[in-house]
Symmetry: C2
Subunit: 200 residues, 2 copies
Amino acid sequence: MQYAEPIDKLIKAFSRLPGIGEKTAARLALYILNAKGEYVEELASSLLSVKAKVSLCSVCMSFSDIDPCAICSDVSRDVLTVCVVSDYKDMVALEGMGGYRGLYHVLHGSMAPLKGIGPDEIRLKELVNRVESKAVKEVILATGFDSEGEATALYTARLLKPYNVKTTRIASGVPVGSFVEYMDGATLVRAMQGRKDVAG
Amino acid sequence: MQYAEPIDKLIKAFSRLPGIGEKTAARLALYILNAKGEYVEELASSLLSVKAKVSLCSVCMSFSDIDPCAICSDVSRDVLTVCVVSDYKDMVALEGMGGYRGLYHVLHGSMAPLKGIGPDEIRLKELVNRVESKAVKEVILATGFDSEGEATALYTARLLKPYNVKTTRIASGVPVGSFVEYMDGATLVRAMQGRKDVAG
């Protein structure tokens, strides 16, 4: 059926969101039709205010409504340690674990030559500037363990070699709660290579 | 992690949509952060314009940006037949099947005494007024076959008894593509009761 034009436009707009197909988009639009006006206005204004108020922190490149962001301006954190992530989402996940007290650097992507994403397309220059101009003792590379994340980690480590900074990579191995029998060979090789002494 | 306040507000607003949990809401909000400004503005304005421009058709109570709606003002349709549905979604589904050329009436709910929804809480008065004031030959009751939909159909049929109008109920039985062995007993009883002669 031909929906009224404003409904149709909303369905199309919803269906551009990730993981939202046309059926779900229609369901959401019909929900909006029946929803309270205040809620719809709140959703619309939240969308606009995220774009208006949130920008990149000038220090760590994460998303924030203040500059520097809450983490970069938190004096209780360890400013000598910088954890490099591909995406803001990764930073959110690492903060979620709770134990890390250093700072971050968000690259906003991984190097992917086949997709035309080279070192200049991600926030690497900002990281080098940071290491150059500020006292940083350790850079922890926490990009993913897919080929793009690995390449990015390797490239970043080489880029930072001229500077007096320790470069580490987070460990790769069998995830907690997983069974060895279900692991792929590449992960098991990594887990073997990364083995550690056990206090007996 | 504590998201920046505008991001947090957007996640909360997204998570109030049906079927969107907090994780999905966060994913959508992070998508919005990275999305193009034009898209976000379009989504926000579509939300507001649906609420501003779409209202109930004064004839059939369906959602429309014009009054009467496109279906009610389509002169090629059979104005003597009115199909009663609980929800706008049901009307969309019936229009989707393609063959029906009559008009609709959207009740916006089913009678549910336990939830405090009586005949006055749904658009039944508007249906009676319509049957009273306009030439209507047949009212097809297409509410659902759950207990609330059934009660609504029965109540509506009784309500229309004083008027010179034929009242019919859509058929209940085994859905096309389904196997008899998997059907529940209530459906099979209905299917038996609704059996028809087969031309041999």
